[in-house]
């Protein structure tokens, strides 16, 4: 028994070993043309996008685009659900829809003689899991948005829903695509949708800049992904998952250079970090909050940003081949989690707090992947999708009701305001989940990640585990800072400056038109938007109506129910549902052996001070403690003694030694500025220099100089052409004389 345990422990030490064992375990895919209707999951959003485009072109002035999208997404969700129910999950299924990129050549000695990337779906339990919450949350948020965006009906409404549909299509092909090229299509497609939606309020320069930034940051990641794809094809001759896993299982025949294999995970990692806003590339996500809040909820919290986790989970066998890759993932994830959490503590814009919290939670997920629990990571993706979407939607609802107010210093005690009850209490649920309050979904998922960090026994991972625990404390603190500030305390609020949110941008650039629209939709308090800053006296907050409240409740239920698999798992002593799903997928290699034999080893684990033998149990206790501690700190600073927070800040600022801390946090560690100075500015200057070089030197000196050379040579002789007859005559006569002289003296003498 002891021997077995130590072996399994050793196995845990080096993920590579797990990986090799696991990659062989991925069953071959079964071609399943009978499930071709699964293509509807992609087709429906695409159709919806086209219809929305038609609506925009026709100038439809009602909520038709929203309805189309909501219906299409619901239908896609239904299709996904039925696929989930009908498809046996013993082995992945490949559903070939049509040939997309495909060509072959004779090769002349080349190992690979074709490049095939059909438009096919690779459906396994991981795919289904992802698609379930993508389409599910997608449809819910679309419904939410039908109400949320109603001020824009007839203006940007169709554009909004068209972009959402495009997003769902792209996300679908990202997740369901049967090869890396299709994944790349989805990868960039979600980038496009994200670009369009962040820049939805296009009149706001900040929104446009944020959209641009998001796309460009993502592009850097995309480049990494593309390089990874090149490497994969180079080594394995295929970009299709099924063939790739087969090749991996066979030991990767054809692979000759080690570096090219070793580089694969790092390239893919870069792509994942870009899309999921991890440390080098995380700065775009907070800025992305310029988009409408449903978008933030759907794309920038629940679904798109988890694509990086999906990518690593999907290609986990490749990561498993390279021993250090997962460590890097873990370190980056953990660092991101900590940094983002620290920034989140000091932000006043509640949406930004949520954005940094998203970055931080994504860091957890990467940590989970890195320390070797794909299950933990995926489970956290799953729970996070619900509770973070919930949190964003709550923020959105508050913003919707408070005329774009997002500053937590300017709102208080909203729970008592009429119409904000549902928001406040669902918000609380979301916060509890995020803070990892015991027995919420977030608690279980986060715990499984932290526990694995300790359980692996690797000292690096243990350190990361401690950091993660600390981060959990910070998370709880900043989460409840928001809640106590906004929903707790005495009731007090002031309206937004109309510079945020959906209605305001039109107010900003087109007052006349908006006043019209605003009054046209009057009758439910929306007129207040129209007046905005002008008529603050008449302003009063208005609560959301059915669509928003209903969706909030539904998602809240989802966030709560997300914990159910864990309960079931604990009670029935079997792997929980998500774990089962993950273990049937390509990410199976990252699931730690689940027998509690690890307990035998407990004496050595880092949390042994708790006295609990089981690492998981010990982690649960410590993490709960950290979370509750964080909440208590928040209670002190933001509910009981709100002045204390400001005093603390002032005290820190007044001390020269600690002065940097609040400043750094409030200024987001100046990462944007550093990037600007280190990358953007030099490139910009270089651009100007190169432009000058191009214009002055290449074109001016070299090209024009060459062209001017004959002219200048001619100008040398120009004085000869003085217009005087005799000048020409002299030249002619002199020429003749010289020719004659040459003829007589040289030519004839020589001859």
């Amino acid at each position: 028994m002891l021997e077995l345990a130590s072996i399994s422990n050793l196995a845990n030490l080096t993920p590579a070993v797990i990986g090799e064992a696991a990659s062989a375990a991925i069953p071959a895919a079964v071609p399943s043309p009978e499930f071709a209707w699964a293509g509807l999951i992609l087709l429906l959003p695409a159709i919806s996008a086209v219809l929305c485009g038609v609506c925009a072109a026709m100038g439809v002035k009602n909520k038709l685009p929203g309805a189309i999208t909501a219906v299409a997404l619901l239908a896609a969700f239904a299709t996904t659900l039925s696929l989930f129910l009908k498809m046996p999950q013993d082995a992945p299924r490949v559903i070939h829809l049509f040939d997309w990129v495909a060509f072959a050549w004779t090769g002349q000695g080349a190992t690979w003689t074709s490049f095939l990337a059909p438009f096919s779906l690779y459906v396994d339990s991981l795919t289904l899991l992802w698609m379930l919450f993508v389409t599910g949350l997608g449809s819910l948020i679309a419904i939410y948005a039908t109400e949320y965006m109603e001020a824009d009906v007839g203006k940007g409404y169709a554009r909004f829903f068209g972009s959402v549909s495009v997003f769902l299509f792209a996300m679908g092909s990202l997740v369901m695509g049967g090869n890396l090229i299709l994944l790349y299509l989805g990868w960039e497609g979600v980038g496009l949708a994200s670009y369009l939606l962040i820049g939805y309020f296009y009149s706001k320069p900040s929104a446009v800049a944020a959209a641009k930034k998001a796309f460009i940051m993502n592009r850097i990641g995309d480049l990494g992904l593309a390089l990874g794809v090149f490497l994969i094809w180079m080594n394995y001759g295929t970009v299709e998952y099924d063939a790739l896993f087969k090749a991996l299982a066979a030991g990767g025949e054809g692979a000759t250079s080690e570096w090219s294999k070793a580089a694969i995970p790092y390239c893919l990692m870069l792509g994942a970090f870009g899309k999921s806003a991890q440390i080098p590339l995380f700065v775009w996500l907070p800025d992305a909050m310029e988009g409408p809040t449903p978008v933030s909820a759907l794309i920038h919290a629940a679904t798109m940003v988890t694509a990086g986790i999906y990518l690593i989970a999907r290609t986990f066998p490749l990561f498993a081949l390279e021993p250090h890759a997962l460590t890097v993932v873990a370190i980056v994830g953990c660092a991101t989690a900590l940094v983002a959490a620290t920034i989140g503590m000091a932000q006043y814009d509640i949406k930004r707090v949520m954005a940094y919290s998203t970055v931080s939670q994504l860091g957890y997920m990467f940590l989970g992947l890195g320390v070797g629990t794909t299950f933990g990571a995926v489970y956290h993706v799953f729970t996070h999708a619900f509770f973070k979407a919930l949190l964003f939607l709550c923020c959105g609802a508050i913003m919707h009701g408070m005329a774009g107010q997002l500053d937590l210093r300017k709102m208080s005690g909203l729970r008592n305001v009429k119409g904000f009850g549902v928001i406040s209490w669902t918000f609380l649920i979301g916060c509890l989940c995020l803070a990892g309050f015991p027995f919420t979904a977030g608690f279980f998922s986060k715990d499984s990640i932290i526990a694995q960090a300790f359980a692996s026994g690797n000292p690096t991972f243990t350190l990361l585990g401690w950091i993660a625990l600390f981060t959990a404390f910070l998370t709880a603190y900043y989460t409840f800072r928001v809640w106590f500030r906004v929903c707790g305390g005495p009731t007090k609020y002031e309206p937004g400056d109309e510079m945020h949110g959906h209605g305001d941008d039109h107010g900003a650039h087109d007052h006349g038109a908006h006043d019209h629209g605003g009054h046209g939709h009057g009758g439910h308090g929306h007129g207040g938007h129209g007046h905005g800053g002008h008529g603050a006296h008449e302003w009063h907050p208005h609560g959301p109506r059915l669509a928003i409240n209903g969706v909030l409740l539904l998602i809240c239920a989802g966030a709560i129910l997300a914990a159910v698999p864990s309960y079931l798992g604990e009670m029935q002593h079997q792997p929980n549902w998500v774990e089962t799903m993950v273990s049937h997928s390509s990410a199976a290699g990252g699931i730690p052996s689940h027998d509690h034999a690890g307990g035998d080893h407990a004496a050595h684990h880092a949390l042994s001070f708790t006295g609990i033998a089981d690492v998981h149990a010990a982690t649960s206790v410590v993490a709960s403690a950290a979370g509750i501690l964080g909440i208590l700190v928040a209670v002190f600073f933001h509910l009981i003694n709100r002045g204390a927070a400001d005093r603390l800040r002032a005290a820190l600022l007044s001390n020269g030694l600690t002065r940097w801390l609040p400043l750094a946090l409030e200024n987001k560690w100046k990462v944007d500025e550093i990037y600007h100075v280190v990358f953007r500015l030099p490139a910009w200057v270089l651009g100007h220099v190169l432009h000058a070089v191009d214009k002055q030197i290449i074109d001016g000196v070299v090209v024009n100089g060459t062209a001017r050379l004959p002219a200048e040579l001619g100008r040398l002789f120009q004085p000869l052409y003085n217009g005087a007859l005799q000048g020409y005559a002299a030249t002619m006569a002199g020429g003749i004389a010289l020719i004659a002289a040459w003829v007589f003296w040289i030519w004839m003498q020589g001859g």
Partner: protein
């Protein structure tokens, strides 16, 4: 039948030019439009009956009409040529229709020159004979010169002169190379021929030094035309000054004459030179990609920006070709076509703006989405097509070009010995990011943001007026005619993006034929480090003996 069609392709535009010259001026645009549509139909018929889609052969295979000195007036193309022909004939009617309101005087000359231009361009793609190729290749300069010089912007004179002289200068060297090969061939074979296939066959058997120099000569003209990096300076100027339709054709097709020339003449004729200079050329491509992308970043003139982006994009295209493997070269050909479509469309979009506001300065324009949502839709669409969004046309070519470059490493795992390798692709790949950067900056300034219009150009009142606000009779947003031009382009872009397989399958065999001589040379190059100088050439006697040999 096929040869009749190919002849018809050449003759129809010429006839149309004649008709335009004779007919009343008000009919010019209609003759041009229907002639180009007719040519498009003929080219479709040609493509339909074209037998070489699957095997990379050149059709029709007729010998052609001898016109003395071994020159054969023979027409034919491989699959790549046919695709470029289709691209040309597809873009021409759009360019013609797009000129209806933009050009208001000297219509007869305008459309007449375009007809001649089309004939010349088709002549290049259809040529099987080096002299026919060269004649048509050079003749494209004449109409384009006049189109820029007469109908261009404020700086049209220097732009047109530079365009003409620069490209002409380059192609003189190409002609020298062609004639050198032909002369050598005539000396060896005893009779003159300019048949491209036979010349290539002969040239690729010449001594390494000769191939090296011949390749340089041949490349000289094409490098200017493409344009490769340090020889690109005529392009932004010409694009900036050319009328919209001229820019469309310039970007869409004329630049492809250069890439097609490399593909069809330079690479197959002197494989040793191609291998020997491969790294240098790839470095130039990459420099072009990165440098011009950075230059794009600081442009204020949107047309110049797109023009510089052409240089950057064609860097990708040539990089793919110079990767010397099927993947890269197939991607390169895809890129040629897709660059023609998306950049051509971008120029059309910019032309539409220019017609309305008479400025291309991005500092004076902004937030046009508010004013022109339909235009903005197309602008965004084609911008994303241009920056290689998967699902649109630009992606697959770009991806394959980079991939081809990436896998072309000396000890390739994929069994493709190549000369380039991952580092080249990584640096070139930064072009992807930079492309996103400058194109999105362009969108951010032009389409998004607060509305900004040049002073005095603002139409009456507020809101999305659909009245005829501009003095030119153009509506605020696009007219039906303009939408009608852009929709076919958008549809084709989308179609290629969603189903590129037929094109790829047709391109791959042709490309492989063109590059047939390369694998063995590349292998030798990788082994010896050089083809021109053998590894043991440090011995001075050998080094001396080598050129002497080659002279014989």
């Amino acid at each position: 039948m096929l040869s009749t069609l190919s002849t018809l392709l050449l003759i129809l535009p010429l006839l149309a030019a004649g008709a335009i010259a004779l007919a009343p001026e008000r009919l010019s645009k209609w003759i041009a439009t229907f002639a180009t549509l007719g040519v498009f139909a003929v080219s479709l018929a040609f493509a339909w009956g074209f037998p070489g889609w699957t095997d990379g052969s050149i059709a029709p295979a007729d010998a052609g009409i001898p016109i003395g000195l071994g020159i054969q007036l023979s027409l034919g193309a491989d699959a790549v040529g046919v695709m470029l022909i289709l691209l040309t004939t597809f873009l021409m009617p759009l360019a013609m229709i797009g000129s209806f309101t933009a050009v208001k005087e000297r219509l007869r000359e305008y459309y007449g020159w375009f007809m001649l231009l089309e004939a010349a361009m088709l002549g290049v793609f259809l040529a099987k004979d080096a002299i026919v190729f060269y004649t048509a290749y050079e003749f494209t300069l004449v109409p384009m010169y006049f189109l820029i010089a007469i109908y261009g912007g404020a700086d049209r004179r220097p732009a047109s002169i530079k365009f003409f002289l620069y490209t002409f200068f380059g192609s003189m060297l190409t002609l020298a190379g062609v004639i050198y090969i032909a002369a050598q061939n005539a000396m060896a074979a005893g009779e003159w021929t300019f048949d491209l296939a036979r010349l290539a066959e002969f040239a690729s058997s010449m001594s390494p030094e000769r191939q090296f120099w011949v390749f340089i000569l041949l490349m000289a003209g094409f490098a200017v035309k493409v344009p490769l990096f340090p020889w690109h300076t005529w392009l932004p100027l010409a694009h900036d000054q050319a009328p919209t339709a001229g820019s469309v054709i310039l970007a869409g097709t004329l630049l492809k004459l250069g890439t097609y020339g490399v593909y069809r003449i330079a690479l197959p004729s002197a494989p040793i030179g191609g291998v020997e200079l491969n790294q240098l050329l790839a470095v130039l491509c990459i420099l072009g990609i990165v440098v011009t992308a950075l230059i794009c970043w600081v442009q204020h003139d949107v047309k110049k920006l797109v023009a510089y982006s052409s240089v950057s994009h064609l860097g990708f295209c040539m990089l793919g070709l110079f990767s010397l493997n099927s993947i890269g070269a197939t991607g390169s050909v895809m890129y040629m076509i897709n660059h023609g479509l998306s950049t051509g469309a971008l120029f059309l979009c910019i032309g539409m703006i220019y017609e309305r506001y008479h400025t291309k300065d991005m500092d004076q324009l902004g937030g046009l989405f508010r004013r022109m949502p339909v235009w903005s839709f197309f602008m965004v669409f084609f911008t994303f097509a241009s920056l290689g969004l998967p699902g649109l046309n630009g992606f697959i070519g770009e991806f394959l070009c980079l991939m081809g470059c990436f896998i072309a490493e000396p000890n390739s795992v994929a069994g493709y010995p190549g000369i380039l390798g991952p580092w080249y692709a990584v640096v070139a790949g930064s072009g992807l990011v930079l492309a996103a950067m400058y194109l999105l900056i362009m969108l951010g300034k032009l389409v998004w943001g607060p509305l900004k219009e040049p002073h005095g150009a603002e139409p009456h009142g507020h809101g999305h007026g659909h009245g005829h606000d501009h003095a030119d009779g153009l509506p605020t947003d696009l007219s039906a005619r303009e939408i009608g031009i852009l929709i076919p382009l958008a549809v084709v872009c989308l179609a290629i993006g969603l189903y590129p397989k037929p094109m790829l399958e047709a391109i791959a065999p042709s490309v492989e034929k063109t590059l047939a001589a390369y694998p063995k040379h590349v292998e030798k190059y990788v082994r010896d480090g050089s083809l021109v100088k053998p590894a043991e050439s440090k011995d001075p006697t050998v080094a001396l003996a080598q050129p002497a040999d080659s002279i014989k």
